[in-house]
Amino acid sequence: MSYDPTSVEGIPEHGRERLRRIRESGRFFTSDLSVNEFLLVRQAGFDPLGLVLGSSIYHIGLQLRRWDKNQELDVLTQAMYHARELAMTRMEEEADQLGADGIVGVRLDVGRHAWGGELAEFIAIGTAVKHREGELHRAPSGRPFTSDLSGQDFWTLLSAGYRPVGLVLGNCVYHVAHQNVGRWISRVGRNVEMPNYTQALYDARELAMERMQAEAESLEAEGIVGVDLHERSHGWGSHVIEFVAIGTAIIPTKADHEIATPSLVLNLNDPPPSLK
């Protein structure tokens, strides 16, 4: 798919106005980075420009499926992928309007609401950053780079001689076949592997990872870091599962990737919120 870096197609009129104002007023920035992340992003030589986001509320079409068949549900897969892509592209366009080099700390959320089974909300949100010395850090395609790495990881990666080029994503919505009565009877009371279940989950996971890999290849990346492979059932019942693989594709900026020897410290930081 070709991408025009100057396109503002998906951004509503007022969104454009907001971004123009941010650019003209120059200094003021907004960001959802924490203090730690903010300081590290600044250390890495980048200035935050603004909070950028894209969203899409999406209608998922009709999906037919066989009760007793392992299969990928292509309508659902495409819906979940397309809507994420819409949200991501809008976010990138916002960043582009700000003249950013890229977006760090990207989060992709899928919200499903009680009031609409066929309706899903997709949000991509992150902080647009620009290199202070004007070094261009965009992806080879001319798009702003995207990355779901935190400010900490971003700093570490840059100082180790890599840079992110893009958030890569693969997904697969899979229907796990129900087992019929004959099979159920043949297994009752015994410890046996259930090959159709194993096979289904294996297949789905593999498809999602393969698609993510293909995205990274198209970005000419050297590798993907921080891959998060998770499965979710978006209220489609127990036999329909979505596998999502998300990671950040990186390319090297120098030949050696040495880091300084770590020292030992006793951390005075607050415990992470989950422990509170």
Partner: protein, 292 residues
């Protein structure tokens, strides 16, 4: 020591970091406001009646045969509204959310000033509604007031309120930034769904079979967010901030009848400004010795 013991939500590390920066905790301070939502006329009623299509020829039940002709009272724009939907901000509701936040923040500041504080850290915010009073909204902010050994605020200078922990406050201060306070913005937007959305949501209608975006909802949601962020920027500009950090976006969507939607967006962030002194420190790699 003759002073009263202090009370704070600071962790040990945060407490020590604050002491290091020359601040000492005083006590917990709070600001709270509960506001009853006024009555808001449904904008859908007014809009729909003025846009109601008129029937020429054809008859009931002839949808899709081409016999029904719309005679828009306006022009193409009217049909566009009907097809694509329209959004509008509910001014009264929006004002209520913004007022309740400002009121609570002002009270927190007053409370902190009484305590003799130069800043309030670790501010925790509770927003929401009550089960026993569904038409009331609450905004409560509770934080730890801190006094400084060296620093004094000018008489008219606003006390900075930050939702950051003591450690984060120190790091920010040490790197040459001063927090100015909590800034926020709210917006309540009403989305009147268009026919495209209505048909897509109609079970097993032709439109509902394929994947598509709900453009009216998407636009309504992003407009609500834009407006809320705009107000946050406005508040930040009033205190001459250089930026706003750690922004949180809270949203609530409720469906109304006829597939209409009410979107409530609340954003909160910490405004910061650069100081003359202070410089970024070097960063080194370390392996933690604390508990996992």
């Amino acid at each position: 020591m003759s002073e009263r013991p202090f009370g704070s939500t600071l962790s040990t590390g945060s407490f020590l970091a604050m002491r290091k920066a020359g601040f000492r905790p005083l006590r917990q301070v709070q600001g709270s406001s509960i506001l009853s939502l006024g009555w808001q006329r449904s904008p859908a009623l007014a809009l729909r009646s003025s846009l109601k299509p008129k029937l020429i020829g054809g008859g009931y039940g002839s949808y899709g045969t081409g016999a029904q002709v719309y005679l828009p009272t306006g022009s193409l724009a009217v049909q566009q509204y009907l097809n694509e939907g329209v959004w509008m901000e509910l001014e009264e509701r929006t004002a209520a959310y913004n007022d309740v936040r400002r009121e609570a923040v002002t009270r927190l500041r007053d409370n902190a000033r009484e305590a003799g504080a130069v800043a309030v850290v670790d501010v925790r915010v509770r927003r929401g509604r009550f089960a026993h009073a569904p038409h009331a909204i609450e905004f409560t902010a509770i934080g730890t007031a801190v006094a400084s050994d060296g620093l004094e605020l000018a008489e008219d200078e606003a006390i900075p309120l930050v939702s950051l922990s003591g450690g984060e406050f120190w790091k920010l201060y040490d790197s040459g930034y001063w927090p100015l306070g909590i800034v926020g913005g709210s917006s309540v937007v009403y989305v009147i769904s268009g026919y495209r959305t209505k048909f897509a949501r109609l079970r097993l209608s032709k439109r509902s079979l394929r994947n598509q975006e709900y453009e009216d909802y998407t636009i309504g949601l992003s407009e609500a967010r834009r407006r809320a962020m705009g107000r946050l920027r406005q508040e930040a500009r009033e205190v001459a901030a250089a930026g706003a950090l750690a922004i949180e976006i809270a949203r609530e969507q409720r469906e109304q009848k006829d597939d209409n939607l009410i979107v409530t967006i609340d954003v909160l962030g910490n405004a910061i400004a650069p100081l003359e002194q202070g410089a970024p420190r070097g960063v080194a790699y370390a392996l933690g010795l604390g508990k996992a």
